[in-house]
Amino acid sequence: MSNKALSAKHEPLVRIVKRDGQSVARRILVRVVAIVLALVVDALFIYFVTGLNPLDVYRVMFGGSFGSKIRFWWTMRDLVTLLLVGIALAPAFMMRFWNIGGEGQILVGAWTSALCMVYLGDKVPSGVLFAAMAITSIAVGALWAFIPAYFKAHWNTNETLFTLMMNYVATAIVACTVNILRGQASSLGKLNKGTKAGWFPRIFGQYFTINIIVVVLLMVLMYVYLKYSKQGYEIRVVGESENTARYAGINVKKVMIRTMLISGAICGLGGFLIVGGKDQAISTATAGGRGFDAIIVAWLSKFNTFIMALISFLLVFLENGAHEIASNYSLNDFAADIISGIILFFILGCEFFVNYRLVFRSRAHKEGNGNV
């Protein structure tokens, strides 16, 4: 078979082949291997670059989220904040409506909550105050999403640019408000420090317990909404193809606007929860980039809200861990970021090996079950 020998020389070194019919066990195995590999590569980095004992560093990193009871509480707090935004963005992205404006929708929600706290805090009973905060936040968040949705539905404007620009408007409004509220003070600080009006009641010792409860509830509701409701079905059809949607008799404009109202309303609610339950303060950093991080959360999970919770946890865990390493070993932030970045890289990268395998030249003729 001289021909074969000849051909083998010219064959491409590596070919990419799609996998089909993966078992669940295999899918899990690939991910476990990815994490182990990430830890090994990280260990090499830690040992050779920083000279520290990798196992100690890992322990510290783990401690960032699980080191103490309060740490764990904080992890949960950050997790639900991120998850909430992911839940908010999921319907929009499932409809292939690129809502990059989560950040702004959260901010305006936080803004009206803060205004209610400042101007109604000592004038109305707390029940009324909470209601006012919640309603205004949800309404203004929905409005912030409605504007780009309406333009897109009627004049086919680009929603990515539009929602993005709405973020800057929101930031400017909040910056202006904060400046007015703080007056001569150097910073605004906590709102209603004396009366604690508009602060959520403590449950299990934490103000943000209500946040956790609300988000878990929303996680289940959104899952059911997207998967089993008629409206969820419409969202999926519109996202797949507007032509198919029209063919099926779906009013595309209506679905687009309705879905963005939901998306914006939940973001606005997020602003309310952040101000009332988490920060009790307002600043331009209130949303803290979660409007963008949540895009990753929503996409990676393929809009399954339960998987969103896992991914949110992973991101928060890595961030906490990096902070902890940086402060514990007085490393600079970059070293810590590299460590968490490597883990993230492997976890995302392993998706490739879940879906594809590589066939190397030497193995190609043996019908390789070869994987990497």
């Binding site: 409206q231 999926r236 193809s241 029209r246 063919y247 099926a248 008799g249």
Partner: protein, 512 residues
């Protein structure tokens, strides 16, 4: 004896667990036209993709001019003189023919020399091509000619044509075959992939047949008949009889009057179209692609905005109740009790949701039924099960995204759903495009069955042989106007072909 131009030995290609090609060996000689025949999913495209460098075979060897070669990219294929003419043309619309021919060629751009060369090629093989015409103003057949000239200009000696006649009128097909014969006489090796058995018999010297990824054999065309070829292709005897039934109890179902459409660019796509559709009849619609077929069906389905003055009236069974469809959305039409089914041309882009399984797709038009917030899935699943069983849809399960199914199965899902709606009007656009013989005949029989049940069937088709055999009446569109309605039992496809291309002034669409 003829020299071998390209030879394939034991080519095997697998995708995951699917064996697309298994030990395929065949040979094409210089100065020969070989037809590659096979049902959908038989591996024709995979095989051609290996020759043109898009896939690399898992096993086996390709020889060009008797020498073993490795084709790792489309460029390698080009360098070996292999040229592929795809079904979907790869041309730049705003360029002229000549610019399209030279674009992408390395080195210095010398339009003058290129023009001389291209002109020589055109003369040699009798191509009719205006080198200064822009592509956007070309007809489908002109674009195809351009693609062939382009490939020849780049030095191709082995030409592969993927279903070249699918979009052509009989006259254009005849011209293409003429050109192919000139090229054959010049010693080019030509592989032509097609579904149409009569064309296979007419043009090719030999026929190679694939079945389910395996090479069945090569036969001399002179010793083959349509029956023998289809048997080799399918592996069993197939009946090539559409079995058209006589129309019974026909009643006027749709009265279409003065329908005109203008597209976004301001071009008139439908021009004052008027005709009637009867229940218990199949009305065929013939025309060169882009003559207004799509706009016509979409106007009826409530998906197309029409110009002022148009009227589409639906007449219910009692002959009294009339419903105006113009200005209604598909949902409104359905809510008015008009059971209108529509199999659009763009199956996955309009008729189905590619990412959903069969169950999800069965819900597409009925998900809103019933009160309450949640969509019901039980009935759609039952419909999906019965469609799968009755039409023999091959799918791993009811939730496998339909995008992953083969073209024939995708169409079965779509047609199955539209028939399950128990329509009174059933419109289909290119219902059998890209489907194999067996599936095509399944669809013809389904349509005829619907007709016998008293459904008014509208069949937009491109294969004139089928139109003549399947339909009762044929409406011919030409440039957005009705060029006449003819009795399908008393007309030849050549006559229809002429009506498709020659606008008849003052033609009024009416059968005596």
């Amino acid at each position: 004896m003829l020299d071998s131009a390209i030879q394939l030995k034991n080519l095997t290609k697998t995708f995951g667990r699917v064996v697309a090609n298994k030990n395929v060996s065949l040979e094409v000689h210089k100065g020969e036209i070989l037809s590659l025949l096979g049902e959908n999913g038989s591996g024709k495209t995979t095989l051609m993709n290996m020759i043109s460098g898009i896939y690399y075979p898992d096993e086996g060897q390709i020889f060009v001019d008797g020498k073993p070669v490795d084709i790792r990219s489309p460029k390698d294929a080009f360098d070996l003189g292999i040229g592929m003419i795809h079904q979907h043309f790869k041309l730049v619309d705003v360029f002229t023919a000549l610019e399209n021919i030279v674009v992408g060629r390395g080195g210095k751009l010398d339009l003058k020399a290129a023009r001389a060369q291209v002109t020589a090629i055109c003369e040699k093989y009798h191509f009719q091509l205006d080198l200064d015409q822009k592509v956007y103003s070309m007809s489908v057949s002109q674009k195809q000619t351009l693609e062939i000239v382009k490939v020849l200009y780049r030095g191709a000696n082995i030409l592969i044509l993927d279903e070249p006649t699918a979009v052509l009128t009989p006259q254009e097909t005849e011209h293409l075959f003429e050109v192919l014969r000139y090229m054959k006489a010049d010693g080019k090796a030509i592989v032509i992939i097609t579904h149409k058995l009569n064309e296979v018999l007419e043009i090719s010297d030999r026929v190679a047949i694939l079945r389910k990824g395996e090479y069945v054999g090569t036969v001399e065309t002179s010793q083959a008949t349509e029956m023998s070829l289809s048997e080799m292709m399918v592996g069993q005897k197939v009946s090539l009889d559409i079995g058209r039934s006589q129309p019974m109890n026909t009643k006027k179902r749709l009265a279409i009057r003065h329908v005109s459409c203008v597209n976004k660019e301001g071009v008139t796509t439908l021009d004052d179209v008027s005709f009637d559709v009867y229940s218990g009849e199949i009305l065929g619609i013939a025309g060169i692609s882009g003559s207004g077929q799509k706009e016509l069906l979409e106007s009826i389905a409530g998906l197309q905005r029409t110009q002022e003055g148009a009227s589409i009236e639906y007449i219910a069974d009692d002959g009294e109740t009339k419903v105006q469809l113009i200005g209604k959305t598909p949902r409104e039409i359905k809510d008015l009790g008009v059971a209108l089914s529509f199999v659009p041309e763009d199956r996955l882009g309009m008729g189905l949701v590619g990412s959903m399984g069969m169950t999800g797709n069965m819900m597409l038009k009925s998900y809103g039924n019933g009160h309450g917030f949640f969509a019901r899935r039980k009935e759609p699943r039952k419909v999906a099960e019965s469609v799968m069983e009755e039409l023999g849809v091959v799918t791993p399960n009811l939730n496998t995204p339909v995008r992953r199914l083969s073209g024939g199965n995708v169409q079965k899902v779509l047609v199955g759903r539209e028939i399950a709606n128990e329509p009174t009007v059933l419109m289909t656009a290119y219902a059998v495009r890209g489907l194999d013989i067996n599936t095509s005949y399944t669809i013809y029989h389904l349509l005829d069955e619907q007709k016998r049940k008293g459904v008014a069937v509208v069949y937009v088709g491109e294969d004139l042989d089928v139109l003549v055999e399947l339909c009762d009446k044929i409406l011919v569109l030409c440039g957005g106007r009705v060029n006449g309605v003819v009795d399908a039992r008393h007309i030849t496809k050549e006559e229809i072909g002429l009506m498709m291309t020659n606008r008849r002034e003052g033609a009024v669409g009416n059968v005596k």
